[in-house]
């Protein structure tokens, strides 16, 4: 039976970050992954400061600072670009939302500036005319999350050992793989995204399907990650299907187009009417898109917790089991922050930001059935 100081289940961006962070603190880690594509392989990789509630803002801005500390060391294939975000106000009323956003972010030291209609047009000439204005957040960026996850694992060096296989059961300070192999460690971190529900006695997560489309390569036309200010309302809705304008310029010259949200489906097939609505929304903002070719579309599943915040902390019934789950649409952004909180908790150190809002215990009734 292989042993280590810690086992991390899942090598998506969250598990990779947890393994990396634990390794930084001198632990020997076994990182177990079944090599199936998860959310990390399907997402957009926008590193974005989100402020829909104070806890989300605290974690995203903390995590962005941590990313900025490592992006210079990341290889080119992680595609880091400090492109900033342009939040776009379609109607004049939305400028008030931009102003609130600006103030909330400023309270945490995150810099942003209000833009007039003309300034938006100047910065991004491909946007249609007549938009009300926007908010520019220069500190945001993008990365290619699957490669960033691989890089984190490599960067940890010998301290992180990869184990390929599916975890089929959790036992007291041990995991059992489909092959029958058993791995044990004093601490186990569950970071396997949506699949975690299969290993836990009570399901904790809900799938929110998202569809993306990517164009062919074109000479650079968009500079910032573009998001409509109405995005927050769409992203946080607890039911119903929605789309919001969200476009990312890939370093390749491709435009990655999002985003949609659909509940209670695990069907990976593209929903064509929804894709059409999403593309219509995108061409409302970027009319030139209509002339471009889309070369791929795909769907992924965000793993959402009941209150929209990630679950970071020990399972109340099993003190050896740490949960790093429920990152929904913000897991790439918050990966390093989440990992830092988990590692500090495991090492019984003070966390850099207040971790109470994310503690996994909030999701459990006091009596939890045993595994």
């Amino acid at each position: 039976m292989a042993t280590a100081d810690a086992i991390v289940i899942g090598a998506g961006i969250i598990g990779a970050a947890c393994a990396w962070q634990l390794a930084q603190q001198g632990l020997r880690v076994l990182l177990v992954d079944d090599q199936l594509p998860g959310a990390t392989a399907a997402g957009m990789g926008h590193l974005v400061c989100m402020d829909d509630n104070p806890a989300e803002l605290a974690l995203s801005s903390y995590s962005l600072n941590l990313w900025r500390g490592v992006v210079d060391r990341m290889p080119d294939n992680c595609a880091w670009q400090g492109c900033g975000t342009l939040w776009i106000a379609e109607k004049p009323e939305e400028m008030a939302i931009a102003e609130v956003k600006k103030q909330r972010m400023a309270a945490l030291g995150v810099n942003s500036e209000m833009l007039s209609s003309q300034q938006v047009a100047q910065l991004e000439p491909m946007l249609r005319g007549g938009l009300a204005g926007g908010l520019h957040v220069p500190g945001d960026g993008i990365i290619y999350a699957p490669n960033a996850a691989r890089w984190l694992i490599e960067d940890a060096g010998e301290a992180v050992q990869r184990v390929y296989g599916e975890v089929v059961a959790l036992e007291q300070q041990a995991v059992v793989l489909a092959s029958g192999q058993r791995l044990s460690a004093p601490v186990i971190t569950l970071a396997c995204g949506l699949q975690a529900d299969k290993l836990l006695p009570t399901p904790l997560l809900r799938a929110k399907k998202g569809q993306l489309a990517i164009t062919d390569r074109y000479p650079h036309t968009v500079k910032h990650q573009l998001v409509e200010l109405g995005y927050g309302a769409s992203a946080h809705a607890a039911k119903g299907t929605s789309v919001a304008f969200n476009v990312q310029a890939r370093p390749t010259g491709q435009l990655l187009i999002g985003s949609s949200r659909q509940f209670d489906t695990l069907d990976t097939a593209i929903d064509m009417p929804l894709l059409a609505t999403m593309l219509k929304r995108a061409t409302d903002f970027l009319p030139g898109l209509a002339k471009m070719s889309i070369i791929r579309c795909w769907a992924g599943f965000r793993a959402a917790s009941a209150d929209g915040l990630p679950l970071l902390g020990p399972h109340p019934a099993y003190p050896w089991l740490w949960l790093a789950l429920g990152h929904e649409g913000l897991g790439v952004t918050t990966a390093l922050g989440s990992a830092a909180l988990i590692a500090a908790q495991i090492q019984q150190q003070r966390t850099a930001i207040d971790d109470t809002p994310y503690l996994a215990a909030r999701m459990f009734a006091t009596e939890e059935s045993l595994l």
Binding site: D216, R217, P219, T252, S293, I295, R296
Partner: protein
């Protein structure tokens, strides 16, 4: 069998009416349609509009060679990724 005339990379040629641009490229003796970012020649692969390998410039517009039927007077250009 009716023949139609078109140009492939500037060279005039005649092809059977009703064939796809991918077939015309193949018949021209050089089936590649574009040069990829990593400088590899690419050609039609799935033949059914899914893989996007057969992107080619037809009359100035990028289209899928396997999904486009040849028309008289068409100008087909192989594309490189700039």
């Amino acid at each position: 069998m009716k023949l139609i005339s078109l140009t492939i990379a500037g060279l005039p040629c005649q092809v059977q009416e009703g064939i796809t641009v991918a077939a015309a490229l193949s018949a021209s003796g050089q089936d590649h349609c574009r040069i990829s970012v990593s400088q590899q020649p690419r050609a039609a692969f799935c033949g059914m509009g899914v893989c996007q390998e057969c992107r080619v410039i037809i009359d100035g517009i990028q289209r899928l060679a396997c999904q486009t039927l040849c028309q008289g007077g068409m100008k087909i250009e192989r594309s490189g990724n700039k």
